[in-house]
Amino acid sequence: MSAEAVSAHVLPAWRRLDDWRRMAAGAALPAGFILICLVALETLARVLAVPEVLFPPPSRVLAALALNASTLCYHAALSASQVLAALVISLLVGVAIATVFTLSRVINDMFAPLFVVLQIIPKIALAPLFVVWFGPGSLSHLSFAVCLSFFPILAGARAGFEETSADAVRLCRALRANGWQTLIYVKLPMALPQLFVGAKVSTTLCIIGVVLGEFVSARAGIGWYIVRAAALSQTANILAALAVLSLFGLLIYGLVAAGETMVRRHMFG
């Protein structure tokens, strides 16, 4: 491993092509595996003549994707905007609660165990309750998604605040920084890596929250589209919607991960 790292620095630029070749070889195996799986599914579905309701071959899913592209895009955009809003809100809520916990010991002692218990409880069971509270509109999906997804951010922010080196905090105190200054200039930047760990978990939870909220009751959105397609037994359409959803999920996760890499590079060189 270290020998490779050294060679990358010493060798002239054209020799670094080797690294590219190695990376391509590394990507070829997983890509080939997925391709083989798809081809196998296609041939199996065709040779065994499986009813399309049970298992549509991948080519049919692709056709459904192309056919319903504009409808799917409309519903996906609706859900995506809710997912993004839920992520931003749960970031704010999670960091705010963690901040209150670090600033006040009494509140921390009073509420922290409660949040640990709440974190373990399967909150997904609350989905119908949010419909009772907020009606079948997007407000209920948004609030449900926030309710699911702020916990990992809260846990990450708390872990990050606790990890702040005691020396740094002592230095701040010696320099007469007050609590807020210590928080904003020292603790918050030092908590960023842990915060991103939480944020990555909660992007998936945001999507789950919005989609499940749309399962339970909705008039539009990708979850509603999936449930309707299932009710009409349009399995190819379900899979097409899932493909769009997965693409969006990976995209938003990639965005958060890219943010994490940037912050890490900025902080640790």
């Binding site: 009494v106 399967p122 609350l126 309750l129 009772v132 299932a230 379900i238």
Partner: protein, 267 residues
Amino acid sequence: MQKPSGRARRILLPLLNCGGIVLLWQLAVSHRWISPLSLAAPFEAAKVAVGSFNILLPHILATTYATLLTFVLSSAGGMLLGALLMHWRTFRLAVYPSLVMFQLLPKIALAPLFVVWFGVNMLSRLSFAGFIAFFPIVLATLAGLRATDPLVLNLCRSLRASPAQIFWQVRLPYAVPLIMSGLKVGMTLAITGVIVSEFVTVQSGLGYIIVFASSNLQIDLMFAALGWVSLIGLLSYGAVLLFERIILIWLGAPVTAGLSRPGEAAP
């Protein structure tokens, strides 16, 4: 580390706080500050949870049974596949990216598809929940088995330990903390998957009771079912924690309680 009074405070304060919240909630509902159509009074909900126990019992048992069976099956399968992936390099290189991708995808969205495939029955619920709970266990097992200290492995090889000995006596004990972390996530995902597929299949189980009660606006029945779901969730998670503790003590490893890691939050 903590003063005795600090320790008492850390246990008493949350309990008092909890009691205060429940009392305030009860007062708020019974004085109609909050409509009883949106929030059930905790004592009423508890009365329903205990009073209609006979009616709820089959559903409680169904959810518990499905959760535990899902957990056992998916953890056995997940650990086996994890071990297989560690030993077979080519397979690992081919499959690992797909596994990570599946781990990230919002698999909950597949729930209606499982109904199309397996119908409205226990098999559909088990397979969906297993599908949800499986991936974190595989990845955690693989990560744990590959995290062995290379110096220790070198030592084993120079002492001519057989591969089987290395696996059972070195790699596996080293992997316990990560595997346990995967199992904890798997347990929370198992109950999540069971509840979601009960939402979708609407046949039996506490998820069915919750949907049924919400569509009839029987809020106290809904809260009673939510209370039972929470209890099952806490007990099953506690069981995994206990299991972890027993294994760690048995191995003579330092016991660490990692309760609030971000990845272990249940959806």
